[in-house]
Amino acid sequence: MKLSVDIGKTLRSREREFHLRAAFSSSDDLTVIFGASGSGKSLTIQAIAGLVTPERGRITVEDRVLFDQEQGVNLPARHRQVGYLFQDYALFPHLTVRENIAYPMKKAWQWGIPPHFDQKVMEIMEAFEIASLAKNHPHELSGGQKQRVALARAMIKRPSLLLLDEPFSAMDAMLRQRMRLELLEIRKRFAVPLVVITHDPADVEVFGDTLVVFANGRVEEINGRRDPAAAEENRG
């Protein structure tokens, strides 16, 4: 997978101006974007997903152009084939776990989940060990369960890239470690490249074939293919 981003955007509010100027590329299947909050990393993955429109630049995944200001290309979010895990998961509160996961398989005018997708929904619920929660609503789930449901929903259409916005920030330390390992497992099982943004140095140690460091709306540093042994040393 090759993701390449080179974008600029200015956000203005009454108090301040924020200039995002993000340029990086990664050919790894695990890219960690690291930076303090307010450094522009969320804005960058929102631009990749098509939730915000940059003022200039270009975003490509493999050979697909998602955004190119000069050529006037700006694919709507629904056509980008990108999965997105929101920080607090954004599970639809009025739908059950099963309906949430089946959401992308159903058209607006269809009443129920089309029968030929039933099997698919069941399979992915089993893969994420949440089949027993099928009829529950999101408010009845624990943090870890919510994250699994959100991942299942993001993965059911097999996106070509999965973006994760601070995936562990809402969890306690124990769960955080477990979910990190689960995420690595998911990357292997679904063969999907991940882009994780985080402000937690511990995430950088566990993940990160390519590390992109953000500060003040700019990319400060890109490390490709970090040596796992070196990361291990740093930990000790």
Partner: protein, 222 residues
Amino acid sequence: MPDLTPLWLTLKVAATATALSLGVAVAFAWLVARRSFPGRELLDAVLTLPLVLPPTVLGYYLIVVWGRNGWLGGWLYQHLGVTLMFTWQGAVLAASVVSFPLLFKSARAAFEGVPAEYEQAARILGDAEFAVFWRITLPLAARGLLAGVMLAFARAMGDFGATLMVAGNIRGRTQTAALAVFDAVQAGDYSLANTLVVIMSFACVVILVMTNKLAARSQRGR
């Protein structure tokens, strides 16, 4: 047994008026809540105006627009030979305009209460804008909308001034309950006045209690 025709007419007028405002209010409320454009707050103010204007002033505006010589009413009368003046449809027009702001304001608040993140998630999961509205925004705003529908219905039932200006006070044809109470008191028919007043008051209390319950539940989240 007093003549209860005004009550049935009131129900018919208020129900039609609320249904009529609903679509328009939802469309404008979504626009104001989810899109930013120059003049947005001005539009909100204009749409809220019927809440604060004297009903007779509203009635006058309606005559200017919909009267036989009005901008739209003139066209209707010339080309189709119909007029809304002094008909129950005219009463519907008056009632829908006076109750519109309540529906619009409730709908705007309900839409603004839906976190934008859910809508973004739906877009990424493959929805076009109308599907996002239909599958996410509308169901999550439903309680707030329903509360607005009930408030607007109660207001539509009780209109006096605008209805009198546009539809007149014709017994059996355009005389709604609020007008009938006025007539009954003028004529000294207190048994009719009392009956209508008790029924109307009861209906409004029930509606307000139900609206409060809905509002409380939607605040707690589901």
